[in-house]
């Protein structure tokens, strides 16, 4: 359904991009109790159309990094470069999806989706068919006049995805978008995001503390160390797509979970340690099976 977008891009004739480069990003926060060192020398190249997940222990600065990419927060040193130009503030080619849906409660669903157009002072009329397609895609057709409080958490988050995609950003930054949802709704949302990503080819940066979610979605999973956040390791996830929830229980998937969780706990990727832990757990399972 979102094929309309490809058509739009094709007719627009403008080659759009979505390359994000983080160069030596370092960030100190000032708080009442002193300075907090949030990020230390992070360098990251994100290709056009790539799905990147950033995981790490809580407080490791993964959201800080995302907000720096969005231009909402600045860096103490280093820079973020998008499509060749350094980020100094919010950019029109970026769409953000926040923790919880962050809909405006005094606007109905349609008005919420049109909110970015109002802010950007763009006539939303030409985008209406696209909005309708997106609403159908996420299963919200017929809910246009409902207010956020009348929608479930999952529906609200789906509405916020439509709000983000409606104005066709090249890059989508997602800050623990499904953290507040229950496990089943989260699975459902993950599959939806994967589908939308496969159809649209957007560059997505997805911050999460859920390792399984990261592996399910991402081309590459970036693991950050505890504060100050550094890149501990970047894992390539070369599982075939579309990935399904069932596959999250498959051996290659579990292996990845082991590797990433171990890296988060150890603060660096140590294959021999992963192998040792794997052997131990396998031994336990074998004994259990033998009993």
């Amino acid at each position: 359904m979102v094929q309309t977008e490809r058509a739009m891009n094709a007719t627009g004739g403008v080659e759009r991009s979505g390359v994000v480069q983080v160069e030596h990003a370092t960030k100190y926060y000032k708080t009442n109790t002193g300075s907090v060192h949030a990020l230390e020398d992070i360098t990251l190249d994100i290709r056009k159309g790539e799905f990147i997940a950033i995981v790490g222990p809580s407080g490791c600065g993964k959201s800080t990094l995302l907000w720096a990419m969005s231009g909402l927060h600045d860096l103490t040193s280093g820079k973020v470069v998008i499509d060749g130009s350094t980020v100094t503030g919010p950019r029109p080619e970026i769409g953000m999806i926040f923790q919880e849906a962050n809909l405006l409660p005094w606007r109905n669903l349609q008005k919420n989706i049109e909110f970015p157009f109002e802010i950007k002072k763009i006539d939303s009329k030409p985008y209406q068919p696209r909005i309708q397609d997106l609403l159908a895609e996420v299963g919200l057709t017929g809910f246009e006049t409902k207010f956020p409080r009348e929608l479930s958490g999952g529906m609200q988050q789906r509405a916020s995805i439509v709000r983000c995609l409606a104005f066709d950003p090249d890059i989508i930054l997602m800050d623990e978008p499904f953290g507040a949802l229950d496990a089943f709704t989260r699975d459902e949302m993950n599959l939806l995001i994967q589908k939308l990503w496969m159809e649209t080819g957007k560059t997505i940066v997805f911050v999460t503390h859920n390792v399984s979610e990261a592996i399910l979605l991402a081309d590459r999973v970036v693991v950050l160390t505890p504060r100050p956040g550094r890149v501990a390791h970047i894992f390539d996830i070369d599982l075939p797509r579309p990935r399904t929830i069932e596959e999250t229980y498959s051996p290659p998937f579990i292996e990845k979970i082991f590797e990433i969780k171990d890296t988060i706990i150890q603060g660096s990727y140590r294959p021999e340690h992963v192998a040792e832990v794997t052997r131990k757990v396998a031994g336990v399972s074998a004994r259990k099976a033998g009993e």
Partner: protein, 284 residues
């Protein structure tokens, strides 16, 4: 439709809506009490009202309560019917004029000041004690002084009403404007919103329920002050009539004025109840 992605949402049909629409649930003392939700309830409400008024009538007649203690409801009704146009109406207009003028000045300054002051936390710190002083001091107390300076015209009363309602509106509006949802500000900013857009599209709508509460409380305080000021220092208006009729022991007339004032108060509540329902019902 609702099960497209396995979501079940509660139904919000019209029969359930009556309980859902809380409107301004935080109207402190004036808790939300909607009118009857169907004709049966309406009938009972009307019957009870008739019973209360009829009961009063019977008690007054049976115990032969003298009119200077409490006139029978029928006498009050008759007085209202007979005297409303010639005697009460001109004074009602005077009170309304004072109320509207003072309230308009006070409320608009209150909202404006709240919007500006909440943008500058330090300025807010400086101003807040004085606003609190204005809120807690009964402004009627100033009327003798104002009358001494400005005479018996409507100015002293208008000023008193403005001083009574303005700070009340301001303090509530400021609470509303201070209620900034950082995630929503970030959302607007991520689309490149200007400070003005953030104010009109996020901060103001977010503050609106509290502003409406402030406007209502301010209006009621304004009415109190208008009537009080007329009692203290005026030759006209409903407050003055209260003094006039009680000094002449015309209790049916006196109580007619009380009824008019009660209706005014209820009208203020009802108006703001509907405004709240229309503009702030998103806040359940």
């Amino acid at each position: 439709m609702s099960d497209v992605l396995g979501d079940n949402i509660p139904t919000f049909d019209s029969s359930g809506a009556e309980n859902q629409e809380v409107g301004l649930s935080n109207m402190s003392a004036l808790a939300d009490t909607g009118f009857a939700s169907n004709w049966k309830e309406a009938l009972i409400l009307i019957l009870v009202a008739c019973g209360v008024i009829g009961g009063l009538e019977i008690i007054v007649r049976v115990f032969d309560v003298p009119a200077y203690t409490f006139p029978a409801p029928s006498e009050i009704g008759e007085s209202l019917w007979r005297n409303f146009r010639p005697l009460y109406w001109p004074h009602l207009l005077v009170t309304l004029k004072v109320l509207f003028l003072g309230y308009f000045i006070g409320a608009s300054l209150g909202i404006l000041l709240a919007a500006v002051i909440t943008q500058f936390p330090f300025a807010e710190k400086i101003v807040t004690p004085y606003i609190l002083l204005l809120v807690t001091t009964p402004m009627i107390a100033l009327v003798p002084l104002l009358v001494q300076k400005l005479g018996f015209g409507i100015q002293p009363r208008v000023i008193a009403v403005a001083l009574a309602s303005g700070p009340m509106v301001m303090i509530n509006a400021a609470t509303g404007f201070r209620r900034t949802d950082l995630a929503k500000l970030a959302l607007a900013r991520s689309y490149g919103a200007s400070t003005f857009q953030i104010f009109t599209k996020v901060r103001f709508p977010l503050a609106l329920p509290m502003i409406i509460v402030g406007l209502m409380v301010g209006a009621i305080f304004g009415l109190l002050t208008a009537v009080g000021a007329e009692i203290v220092g005026s030759g006209e208006g409903l407050g003055n009539r209260l003094m006039y009729y009680s000094s002449r022991i015309q209790m049916a007339n006196f109580w007619s004025i009380i009824v008019i004032l009660a209706v005014l108060g209820i009208l203020i509540y009802v108006i703001f109840y509907w405004i709240g329902k229309r503009w702030a019902s998103w806040q359940a």
